[in-house]
Amino acid sequence: MSPDSGHHADSPALLDRGDTRLKDRSGIAGALKAFADRVQSGDLGSLPVVIGLAIIWTVFQTLNPVFLSPRNLVNLLFDCSTVGVISLGIVCVLMVGEIDLSVGSVSGLSSAILGVLWVRLGWPPELAILAALAAGCLIGCLYALLFNRLGMPSFVSTLAGLLGFLGLQLYILGPKGSINLPYESPLVTFGQLLVMPAPVSYALAAVPGALTLVRRLRTARRRRASGLSSRALGGLLLEAGLITVVLEGMAYYLNFARGVPWMFGLFVGLVMAMNYALRSTQWGRSMTAVGGNREAARRAGIDVRLIYASAFALCSTLAAAGGLLSAARLASSNLQAGTVDVNLNAIAAAVIGGTSLFGGRGSAYSALLGIIVIQSIASGLTLLDLSSSLRYMITGGVLAIAVVVDSLARRSRVSHGRA
């Protein structure tokens, strides 16, 4: 993501600085110029979405000062986590250029399985959770089978799944309908109340910065040793410092209210794990390759079917996990869990965050960013007294505004021939 600014402008012996056409981008001035280059060429990663988000936040905050209160933000983080986890799975299938329309139904089904096994049949909750996740995984494998063996487009198979698993959810909940999950149970507490103790939240908030710094430093050392350009120490420290300051600041602010929800911690942890898997493992590389050019990936000897299967299975499993989290959040398994909106919100979050619907481009962070955008709009509007017609209209409008910054940036990207 970050440009490799030349470390020593005066050492032309660097392996990757041999070309005279490369402009020198070392030092602070160079870094600024490199940034300007990136702005011009639209290669800004998630910055535009962050800007869109900042605009939304400012507007809602001026309309109702409760919006950015620590208390409301804590609610926001709880709400983000459930659909966010589902959206993370969507990122996987979008990466390989496929889609899963059934995540809502699968999440509903998994919450129904949890309720029936745990409350009605009295299984231990751990087993019920495992069963629900296994069901999700199985569903993903089924899609993969239909896709790999029968060549059924995922749009159609998952549309069939959307209906079929909704039916299954209604069926296993049966005529008795919704099931209350016990409020005192650890699962419901986790979904509704459990926050990190302040010291833990500060410690965890320091982790990403520290990890970044360590990995970047190691890479820089190895690059120098191998005769490649490497980033200047100052820049690295600045970046890691910035991350740490922002995260610690957020933890501090949230600790004014209840604190950082563990559920959100889980979500962010999953996002970071997925990000690592997509960027730094052979599997992730294969996912990107399959999404970019399936035939080229096949010719490179990648087991394309396995990659598709992993994407579908991961997506459905995460959808099931999301269903469990939302059951915990609501303290009930009900008929309507997952039926409406969940699909659209989960897919929209991934797309708004910058993952392409056409495969081969995306990042785990897009789920995080996208769901924060969507939930911010929802949360901001709940704080204003509006009729539902206005509420729909404003949601639509704000959504468009959130993305317009990103679109403009990307547009210049296209016109610079790097779409």
Binding site: R21, R285, G360
Partner: protein, 272 residues
Amino acid sequence: MTQLADLSASDPRSLVSLRTISKNFGAVSALTEVDLDIFPGEIVALVGDNGAGKSTLVKILAGVLQPSSGAIAFDGAPVTLSNPSAALRLGIATVFQDLALCENLDVVANIFLGRELSPLQLDEVAMEVRAWTLLGELSARIPSVREPVAALSGGQRQTVAIARSLLMNPRVILLDEPTAALGVAQTAEVLNMIERVRDRGLGVVIISHNMEVVRAVADRIVVLRLGRNNGVFPPDASNHDLVSAITGADDNAVSRRARSVAQPRSLNPGRH
């Protein structure tokens, strides 16, 4: 895919031998009963007119396409190349005419695709160093290996595809028009490289429309015409014979042009 063809007729020394390979696409027969042998330490040039079926043959050898009929033997044993992985496992490396690169990945990722170093924690530094080295050997002029391949020029892409094929330790290397988009210096390097791998005992198949290139490196020239074998020539065969075998006529566009261009700056026949 019938395997009824007789493999017993194949030369025992051959690394790969194809017998009576046919391939139909709907109503078009792209290949009809084609035979081909690849020997270790030998460069075979496969030449033929546009649409003669050269790339189709290479794709069959690389496991990308399956023949409609015919048999393939590797090291004397019959094999079925049902997918590219099967061919790669046998040690058949291929540079495809359409390059088959992932445009959304950068140069390093493309070179190492499917063969990444330390799969659980990709060793980007080692891969980048190796990529620069490989590209350097091919005289590539690529400003940055961290750009997506979509941003490269035609020749730069071709160099990346060739670098890919050198990475694994193949026993056979198939090059489908590897120098078509390359500059003069890069072409010279690739030809050097081909000779080096031949000398290491690999079997090499090179497809090219450039008769000078073919003549310069090939040990044997196999001609395909309209999907059928149309003769085998030594590298010192006359240009006229080669071009006639390729175009199927003594009087062809090449000879006509050679005659009509009366000025001193005439175009020699054979990639002229």
